[in-house]
């Protein structure tokens, strides 16, 4: 294995000193001269027709500077992809969920803006609403979007091999239904943006966006303005988890208000708005049918999925496709069938959320595997090993796998969790459960794009400046990516000046999602660094009159091997290049892969899903259930993750620990609850997330499968971290007390009810 001096080191986040001092500037910390405060009037009805809006009283309130309605917008429909466009910044016809934007105000203070909202008179005609996706698909159900029949936004079908033939040769067939609930991203920082618009219509938007470059395009599209006139700046971002990828209506609204008033306009979501009107994890109903041989070989698997889209598409169609890809690609199964429906309802809508459709697939499939293992009297880890993916295979659904550490993950968790000892000698009310997962290790070019760009330049004084489109939302890419550049350039990562995620200053990057930054932005950064290194070497070879192959980089100097006295400092090379040779030292890197998309790729159902690598993970949960209350306590979680190579183990562990916390929350307590379209728990008091008291001991295990295409062999890790946690816990609860939870979250009530039902059956 290569010997790296910076890659593989445990180095804290690049920005942590600023963050512990409180001097890191987040969007909400910015105050501009003459800044106004924007507030949005949101619907309190789930489904209604807009008759009229009267803003005259509000306009008279002292301190109000502008009020906008749909008439102030271009009425252009948008979404993350033009083919899914179903939303307008402010709709002129209909309200589709509680929280839908109707109008907005800019005023000199937040209080006046709020007061003005109360003075806007809206004449709405309430329409019957539909909140259950199964009801929404029925003939005659109210239509959320008038032109969309049966409220089905997207229908996916895929069959590989023949499940009919597969089931015919199976020794055991199991069928069951699994349900998952809405989860809120709940980053501690809410959405916030500040817009300015110059007299020449140049727009600057400070926004906590996970995808500033795509945001620039989407904002321009939704407002019908020239993207070349839009500048997006991302200050520090207080977490995202997928919620901050899309164009949020508040961002477009702040621009319109800024244009109308000629002043900067800031809009910051309250926590309630964050729950009501930003994205969440799509709830699903999954019917599974599995056929297996007596030896554990899965011969056929079939899923029928109904995904509750909510009122608008956002990422919904892609989340459904990912649900299919991850369900179908995990394990080596010859016959697979998938049918998925994405269904509109009059509720807040789903979006990208850590795992992107995979947690729902993993929950259903991994609990099903536990049920199969029990029926076959087979160890659940052995069952998974029997069917595990292997390196360099092409799966039945035409997904190309490069590196694959799934088997290593399974054997490592088995040993580290003391699986065998604890399963052989079980303690009362205690149990162990296992679950595996697959996810992309570097985004996908399925949408046609998977781009990341970087520029590395050496200044005349020999210092380095890295400019990249990638955005650090807390996951640590600012350190990971500078570590890669530093390794190649033989400098300390902290010594590299860094500019990120500014659409005027950096090459574009798709953004932070899809566990793609380490792989894609890392590929761009390493390419740029290698290019700059080559330039340095060529300069040095000429200046030192040496052969380029005899040169090496060390401590900001270039040496001739074997002649330590013959060297040049970076500063000497930099100065010579800039001033004497008049050739600035700069290199670019750009990634947009993978190359060689399978001819079998289907852009609808994502058969032949084109990802540059796939990541794997296995987690084992140990759980204790209190039989008097039904409460499940997680005692430990052993989490093995194939991340290709750990560029920075300290930060990798942080991703696994944080992901596990979100996975445990989803498994046991987190649930965005609706009553007739209204969220009844839109705050941290009623929406329960894990506190430090709820957190068990996490044992991260880093499996380095060294991906042949990844930068330094690395793959993505962020999203996988939460995917297998819930099914591992659910399987552990079954092992502990024999209660099988098939609809999340596994609340104490559900477990207690299961215990009582079991007692009744046995008595």
């Amino acid at each position: 294995m290569e010997n790296y001096s910076i890659v593989g080191k445990r180095i804290p986040h690049r920005d942590s000193v600023e963050k512990v001092k409180g001097s890191a500037v987040f969007t909400s910390d910015i105050k501009l001269n003459g800044m106004l405060y924007g507030k949005i009037l949101r619907s309190t009805l789930p489904h209604a027709e807009i008759r009229s809006i009267d803003t005259s009283k509000a306009a008279k309130l002292k301190g109000v500077k502008a009020i906008i309605t749909s008439q102030d917008t271009p009425l252009v429909k948008y979404s993350i992809s033009p083919t899914w466009a179903d939303q307008m910044v402010l709709d002129d016809q209909k309200i589709r969920y509680i929280g839908d934007e109707i109008a907005a105000v800019a005023a000199v203070t937040e209080e006046i803006a709020e007061e003005a909202l109360d003075l806007i008179e809206v004449d709405l005609v309430e329409l019957p609403g539909v909140y259950d996706p199964l009801e929404a698909m029925k003939e005659g159900a109210p239509l959320v979007h008038d032109a969309v029949r049966h409220n089905i936004s997207k229908k996916l079908t895929m069959e590989c091999g023949s499940v009919e033939e597969g089931f015919a040769e199976a020794d055991l067939i199991l069928e069951d239904t699994f349900k998952t609930q809405a989860q809120s991203h709940s980053s501690i920082e809410t959405h916030c943006c500040i817009a300015t618009c110059s007299p020449t219509d140049d727009v600057t938007l400070w926004a906590n966006s996970q995808s500033p470059h795509p945001l620039r395009q989407r904002l321009a599209g939704a407002l019908n303005i020239d993207a070349a006139k839009v500048h997006i700046i991302t200050p520090y971002i207080g977490g995202g988890f997928g919620s901050k990828i899309d164009l949020d209506p508040s961002q477009a609204i702040s621009v319109i208000l800024a244009k109308k008033t000629g002043k900067p306009v800031k809009i910051e979501h309250s926590r309630k708005e964050q729950f009501m009107a930003t994205r969440m994890r799509h709830p699903t109903i999954t019917e599974l049918k599995f056929g297996v041989k007596r030896d554990g070989t899965i011969v056929a698997k079939q899923a029928k999925v109904v995904m509750d889209n909510g009122a608008y598409n956002s990422h919904g169609p892609a989340v459904l496709a990912y649900n299919n890809v991850m369900f179908s690609t995990l394990y080596r199964v010859a016959n697979i069938k998938y049918e998925g429906c994405l269904v509109y309802t009059n509720k807040n809508w789903g979006g990208a959320c850590r795992g992107y459709g995979d947690p729902q697939a993993s929950f259903a499939q991994e609990v099903m595997l536990d049920m199969i293992a029990e029926k076959l009297d087979m160890d659940p880890i052995e069952l998974r090993l029997k069917n595990a993916n292997i390196p360099n295979e092409v799966t039945a659904n035409a997904v190309k796998i490069t590196s694959c550490g799934l088997k290593e993950c399974l054997t490592e968790v088995k040993e580290r969790s003391q699986w065998e000892e604890k399963r052989i000698n079980p303690k009362k009310y205690r149990g162990l459960g296992v679950a595996a997962m697959i996810y992309t290790g570097g985004g996908s070019i399925g949408s046609g794009f998977n781009y990341s760009g970087a520029t590395l330049q050496m200044n005349a004084d020999g210092t380095l400046h890295l400019l990249m489109g990638a955005v650090d939302i807390g996951q640590g890419s600012n350190m990971i990516l500078t570590q890669m550049a530093a390794e190649i350039m033989a400098v300390e990562p902290q010594s590299i000046r860094l500019t990120t995620a500014d659409t005027d200053a950096t090459f574009p990057c798709m953004g932070t999602f899809g566990s793609r930054v380490t792989f894609c932005a890392g590929s761009a950064v390493t390419q740029a660094a290698k290019g700059l290194k080559q330039q340095l070497l060529e300069n040095a070879a000429e200046m030192l009159e040496a052969n380029i192959d005899d040169l090496e980089l060390k401590q900001k100097k270039i040496f001739v091997k074997g002649s330590p006295q013959k060297s040049l400092s970076y500063a000497e090379i930099g100065a010579a290049s800039f001033y004497r040779r008049k050739k600035p030292l700069v290199a670019h890197g750009y990634y947009n892969g993978p190359e060689g998309i399978s001819p079998e790729f289907d852009p609808q159902n994502y058969r032949g899903y084109p990802a540059p690598s796939m990541a794997f993970a296995v987690q084992v949960a140990e759980v204790q259930v209190d039989p008097t209350t039904g409460k499940a306590e997680i005692l430990s979680l052993t989490a093995a993750h194939d991340l290709g190579r750990a560029i920075n183990p300290l930060l990798a562990e942080g991703q696994i620990e944080g992901g596990a916390a979100q996975g445990i929350g989803w498994a046991l307590m987190e649930d965005v609850q609706f009553e007739n379209g209204k969220i009844v728990n839109p705050n941290f008091h009623d929406y329960k997330m894990l506190t430090i008291k709820d957190m068990p001991k996490i044992s991260p295990i880093l499996i380095e499968s060294i991906d042949p295409n990844g930068p330094f062999g690395a793959k993505g890790l962020g999203e996988p971290a939460m995917v297998p946690t819930a099914p591992a816990i659910i399987n552990a609860i079954y092992d502990a007390v024999g209660v099988r939870i098939k609809d999340l979250p596994a609340t104490s009530e559900k477990i207690y009810k299961g215990l009582k039902e079991k007692e009744l059956k046995t008595s």
Binding site: P12, S16, V17, V20, G22, G238, G474, T691, I692, M695
Partner: protein, 157 residues
């Protein structure tokens, strides 16, 4: 509009003489009147702990405290933890342990830890968790935050 009240407070050892509206929260006073934006707003309902500051030695969620209530008080915010480039041992421990990811909860976490260690210099794990229970973090799973507190305890002995 209601008349303003005059208050005198000491923030990070600096005295301030201020006129505030009776409905001004301590959080808004710190962030908007004094420009101390290290104190964060996460929920404005006292549930998340991002706005934690220390008032007369006790941790408070500053979004739930009115500015007029702290007249005469001594307040410590995150900006008062370090002196120049020299970090407080708790801050240094948070950096070294990898306890900082997005950093939005970090100031509140550090101030709660400060109050904890001022009250109990050698706390048990239960005591640490009892103090930090009111500070939500969505990134780290708290594991490295707990590591940081334990390192700080050792450093400060």
């Amino acid at each position: 509009m209601q008349s303003k009240h005059r208050i005198q407070i000491t923030v990070n050892e600096e005295e301030h003489d201020l006129l505030v509206h009776p409905n001004r929260t301590l959080l808004d006073l710190l962030r908007y009147d004094l420009g101390l934006t290290g104190t964060k707003e996460g929920c404005d309902e006292g549930d998340c702990g991002a706005c934690t500051v220390i008032v007369n030695g006790k941790v408070v969620t500053s979004c739930l405290v009115l500015a007029v209530e702290v007249d005469g008080a001594a307040i410590t915010t995150i900006e008062g933890m370090h002196s120049g480039d020299e970090l407080h041992p708790i801050q240094q421990a948070f950096v070294d342990s990898g306890a900082v990811q997005c950093g939005f909860c970090t100031p509140g976490m550090i101030l709660t830890t400060k109050a904890l260690l001022d009250d109990i210099p050698d706390p048990s794990e239960d005591e640490i968790k009892h103090y930090l229970e009111g500070n939500l973090c969505r990134c780290t799973g708290y594991t490295k935050i707990l590591d940081a507190v334990n390192i700080a305890i050792k450093q400060m002995k």
